[in-house]
């Protein structure tokens, strides 16, 4: 019957089907959905800019970032557009090359964290029983322990933390929030009809988890992953700032560390601490925007209400 295909109108607030015209480029479906959202597009553009800077760092700012190339604390000029540090290092070179290490640590650790979240959260939610109780307890304990002091104490015991150690410490202490979110979503999915159907038809557990559960929480995993990356970039900068990173490495955090240690504030050398802070904020802002975008796409009610205000 033809009219059965018509959308049933229960309430006017029902998720609206977008009637946007198709872009000419043949993009994959998820890409098109994301680019249809303004916030996500802004976030992606900023992120893309940083990615390009990270990839082409040696081209954009060639040279040794820790080498003395000018007088101490030179103001920004055509030659050194972000000025120089107390040691006469070029801040712009440090920022550009620091982008690379900050992004690698951020996305690398974020990825390790999300894997831990999936393993712990999904196991906890899917297996249930005693396993769930134990894992939930551990998760809740890690949630409530103050993260930064714990990370500082762990890093304090390591003699000279390299990037790998920092990543390991951050991963082991920062998985709890994502694990809890994924656990509750797994619980919902586990009790859904299609999982029950898969179970009764005798599908093995690993298949149910991989092909029924995980694909149905892609957006949640994506936003947890982005959240973890934001957290790691901020925390890594904080660790470097308090002197628990490798002071010879080049990251945004270490530039801030040297600014603080060299009394940049007292001498008025604002250019040594403003650029790295703005970079951290920009990347955090971009990732947050992408997360808001994902939220609006998966939860269309948020936009419907807003767009109809008169």
């Amino acid at each position: 019957m033809g009219q059965e295909k018509q959308i049933r109108m229960t309430t006017a607030l029902e998720p609206a089907k977008t009637t946007r015209s198709e872009p000419r480029l043949a993009l994959p479906g998820w890409m098109r959905t994301i680019l249809g959202n303004r916030k996500a597009t802004i976030g992606l553009l900023i992120l893309l800019m940083f990615l390009l800077v990270a990839i082409f760092a040696p081209v954009i700012a060639p040279g040794e970032p820790n080498k003395m190339v000018g007088r101490p604390h030179e103001r920004p000029s055509a030659e050194h557009i972000f000025g120089t540090s107390r040691q006469g290092q070029d801040i712009f070179t440090q920022i550009v090359q620091g982008t690379r290490s900050s992004l690698i640590v951020g996305f690398g650790t974020g990825t390790i964290i999300i894997f831990l979240c999936i393993i712990i959260g999904v196991t906890s939610g899917f297996v249930g029983g005693v396993v769930d109780e134990v894992l939930s307890l551990i998760t809740n304990v890690f949630l409530i322990l103050p993260g930064l002091p714990l990370i500082i104490v762990v890093a304090g015991w390591v003699e000279q933390p390299g990037p790998a150690t920092v990543m390991l410490v951050l991963s082991l202490t920062s998985w709890a929030f994502g694990a809890r979110v994924l656990r509750s979503q797994t619980l919902v999915l586990r009790n859904s009809d299609f999982v029950a159907a898969a179970r009764t038809s005798g599908e093995p557990t690993w298949r149910i988890v991989l092909f029924e559960i995980l694909p149905n929480m892609t957006s949640l995993v994506a936003s947890s992953w982005i959240g973890a990356v934001i957290f790691v970039i901020l925390t890594e900068a904080t660790l470097s700032f308090v002197g628990l990173g490798n002071p010879n490495a080049v990251t945004w955090g270490t530039t801030l560390y040297w600014a603080q240690n060299n009394q940049a504030l007292l001498t008025g050398a604002w250019w040594t601490f403003v650029p790295p802070g703005v970079c951290i904020a920009l990347i955090g802002f971009a990732l947050t925007m992408i997360n808001y975008g994902i939220d609006e796409i998966t939860n269309p009610r948020l936009t419907v209400e807003k767009s109809e205000k008169e």
């Binding site: 307890l137 809740n140 304990v141 949630l143 409530i144 322990l145 103050p146 993260g147 930064l148 002091p149 714990l150 500082i152 104490v153 762990v154 890093a155 304090g156 015991w157 390591v158 003699e159 929030f177 901020l234 900068a237 904080t238 700032f241 308090v242 002197g243 628990l244 801030l256 600014a259 603080q260 504030l265 007292l266 008025g268 604002w270 601490f273 403003v274 802070g277 951290i280 904020a281 920009l282 955090g284 802002f285 947050t288 205000k309």
Partner: protein
């Protein structure tokens, strides 16, 4: 009451987990921690200090379990060991004053940020698309993207150094005697605390505001709010007793995670302002490899966070009859 009892049990478990972590972290390090400590302090350390260090961490002869019991016994006797950097001052004596400064600064600013943020969130949701919604929300999102300590640096730079409105560093004028009865001393304390206080409030407010706003928007669409309006109640009563009182409940539940985050950030803010609180002490301890002090500060911060969470739980029970 069962709810509070359950929460209390959980906090005890969490405290025990923190104590145990404290014991195992040094032992999980590559290599022998005793050797590590020796290497760190080679030639610089009093042999007696070395002995006390070993004792504090339970690095006595014997199996792991015996070491653990020794460690716990020390801890429950209030024996956190002796400081390495200011040997032989007991750690507990160093912590006392800095804990007091932190509780005053971070405690006060966190509570204030929670209250202001929550109130702003209530109004932002009540007049959606109005002034607060359009001005504070974008500001809060932008400020929230910056690291706490960076905001602290900017505040210190602008208000402390460029405009010289406030004194930089420390909790009071160090040329003065600590005397809480002396108004000049008190005003010095207030002046020294204003910059860190405002920094923590500015950075923490956005999160509470955003959370409360979103909870409120959810609650405002509930039938009981509509019915309260239809009953003819005043806007004030609808907003506070019907909407806000329900909307604040998830905020209190989310207090645990947010508090850990806020306190972590606030501790680093102390470092920037050289404010002699727990964060400053912790970072000094880390830089000076003063392990007993470092461990003790971590435990005390953890216990303080757990206590604050329990206070939030009590608030929850007072506001929500379903938890009673």
């Amino acid at each position: 009451m069962r709810f509070l009892f359950r929460r209390l049990t959980f906090y005890i478990v969490a405290a025990f987990a923190a104590i145990t972590l404290n014991f195992f972290i040094p032992r999980m390090m590559v290599g022998d921690p005793v050797q590590l400590m020796f290497a760190q302090f080679q030639g610089r350390l009093d042999p007696r200090a070395m002995e006390s260090l070993k004792e504090t961490f339970g690095f006595v002869q014997g199996p792991l379990l015996q070491q653990y019991i020794t460690y716990l016994t020390n801890l429950f006797q209030g024996n956190f060991g002796l400081s390495v950097s200011s040997f032989p001052v007991p750690v507990i004596e160093l912590i006392g004053p800095s804990l007091a400064w932190t509780v005053r600064l971070i405690g006060f600013s966190t509570i204030l940020a929670f209250i202001i943020g929550t109130i702003l969130g209530v109004f932002a949701a009540w007049r959606r698309g109005g002034g607060i919604d359009n001005i504070f929300l974008p500001i809060a999102s932008v400020v929230g993207a910056f690291p706490f300590f960076w905001i602290a640096m900017v505040v210190l730079y602008l208000f402390g150094l460029v405009w010289k409105w406030f004194p930089i560093g420390h909790a009071y004028d160090v040329s003065m005697q600590v005397d809480w009865g002396n108004p000049t001393f008190l005003s010095s304390v207030v002046q020294h605390s204003l910059m860190p206080l405002c920094t923590i409030i500015i950075t923490a407010i956005g999160g509470w505001m955003l959370g409360m706003r979103n909870n409120m928007i959810g609650v405002l669409s509930q039938d009981y709010v509509t019915m309260a309006q239809a009953k003819g109640l005043s806007d004030r009563r609808v907003m506070l007793v019907y909407a806000a009182r329900n909307a604040i409940l998830p905020s209190l539940t989310g207090f645990a995670m947010s508090l850990g985050f806020v306190v972590g950030g606030a501790l680093v803010v102390e470092l920037v302002f050289a404010y002699p609180g727990m964060g400053y002490t912790l970072l000094r301890a880390v830089q000076g490899r003063d392990y007993p002090l470092m461990q003790a500060v971590f435990l005390v911060i953890t216990l303080a966070v757990l206590a604050a969470n329990f206070a939030a739980d009590i608030m929850y029970v007072l506001l929500d009859p379903r938890a009673r």
